[in-house]
Symmetry: C2
Subunit: 235 residues, 2 copies
């Protein structure tokens, strides 16, 4: 029960719920796939994995092809043969208890969930989150930001005159960023309200993947992407 804290544990569990992986790849996904996520170092990740194993939430399995595009399921782990792709050393798989634990984390919301990084992590797994919980998180986040805005406005009003232009500009830009996120949240909340499809109505279930489902009613934005397979965050 040694509490390796929140966000990393949460993200690891969430990613492994989608498919088993080994540490190295897990880290890459942590850096890139999830939106805002900071780059955790191996020095953080591996010990964390160990304790998750110790908690019975993960099991270590010997090698296997690290979850590539066609999951190639049903392949019964040929011990040391040359599978396609590269070889993996230790593949971590979520146990039943791990799954359960993750569900619990998913459905629980507290003041933590509104904080920047924590919120991003929650949001990244909204795909597996119940609609009701999604709403709570979004609204919690919003009011968190709104109270932050209050403070900024107040402080700005108090100190306006004695600040130099740069400080003022910094504050202005900061506030604008927050206001922008509030508007974003408003859109999201709105589209949650109007959207049908609440997916996963019964929590704690055992239904396999359900990821990458249909639009769900998210506000659509133009997605301009230019193909450029450069590489990931170096070490």
């Amino acid at each position: 029960m040694s509490r390796r804290s929140g966000i990393l544990e949460f993200a690891v569990l969430g990613l492994l719920r989608e498919s088993p992986m080994h540490g190295y790849e897990l880290r890459k996904r942590l850096n890139t796939s999830l939106g805002i996520f900071r780059a955790f170092s191996y020095g953080t990740l591996y010990p964390c994995l160990k304790t998750l194993v110790a908690n019975g939430w993960l099991i270590e399995e010997p090698g296997g092809a690290p979850a590539d595009l066609p999951p190639s399921v049903g392949r019964p782990v040929t011990p040391a043969s040359s599978l396609a792709g590269r070889r993996a050393k230790i593949v971590y798989r979520l146990t039943a208890e791990g799954k359960e634990h993750f569900e619990e984390l998913l459905s629980h919301t507290g003041p933590d969930s509104w904080e920047d990084e924590h919120f991003a992590a929650r949001f990244a797994f909204f795909g597996q989150t119940e609609r009701e919980v999604r709403m709570r998180v979004l609204e919690g986040r919003r009011s968190r930001l709104e109270e932050r805005l209050e403070k900024m406005r107040a402080s700005l009003a108090r100190t306006r005159e004695r600040l130099d232009d740069y400080t003022l500009e910094l504050q202005r830009h900061g506030m604008e960023s927050v206001e922008r996120e509030v508007r974003w949240l408003n859109e999201l909340i709105e589209s949650e309200r109007s959207g049908r499809d609440q997916r996963r109505s019964s929590p704690g279930g055992d239904a396999q993947q359900d990821i990458a489902g249909e639009p769900d009613g998210l506000p659509r934005h133009r997605g301009d992407t230019r193909p450029d397979p450069s590489d990931d965050t170096s070490q």
Copy 2:
């Protein structure tokens, strides 16, 4: 010479350069006045002040009115009398060496300076920074963000299909935020280029305050502020 690290030390030195203060007030300024600044706890601040004193950059002085609007200079610290405002215990004042050290920090730029919090801190003291250095910092920050954008775009291109809508939306919003900051930086850089008034042409000098000078050519934005003296970040 014990290196209590960067950002807090920098900010403390910078704030004390403007006027002497005691720790309690210093912390409030850290929270509110400077744009983005996180709320440092006393557990961080006080020990830091101690080491700055040990380094000879600050001196502790007994009480006095904690720098209120009219600085009321020339008042020779009446030991235990009831000055206007509230009473202070230990007032920290920047020494000559402290000033010099701060100038040094101000003029030095390295990869650190482009990182989020570090950048905000640098920006907050642009008022005392030479124009040339300001440019370096702004441009460094911009290219830092641009390479971050590269990575995001690349990763997005690689993984687009296998991500669910929420993750996608999170990434989209993240990228948009970064793009927005780049545009902001562009404006700032542009107005630095066209602006006259480089203030403080000779570094390491001893000229007293020069803060809150004239507009300087910053891009003007509408500043809507409604007076509402609510309070600061509690504890």
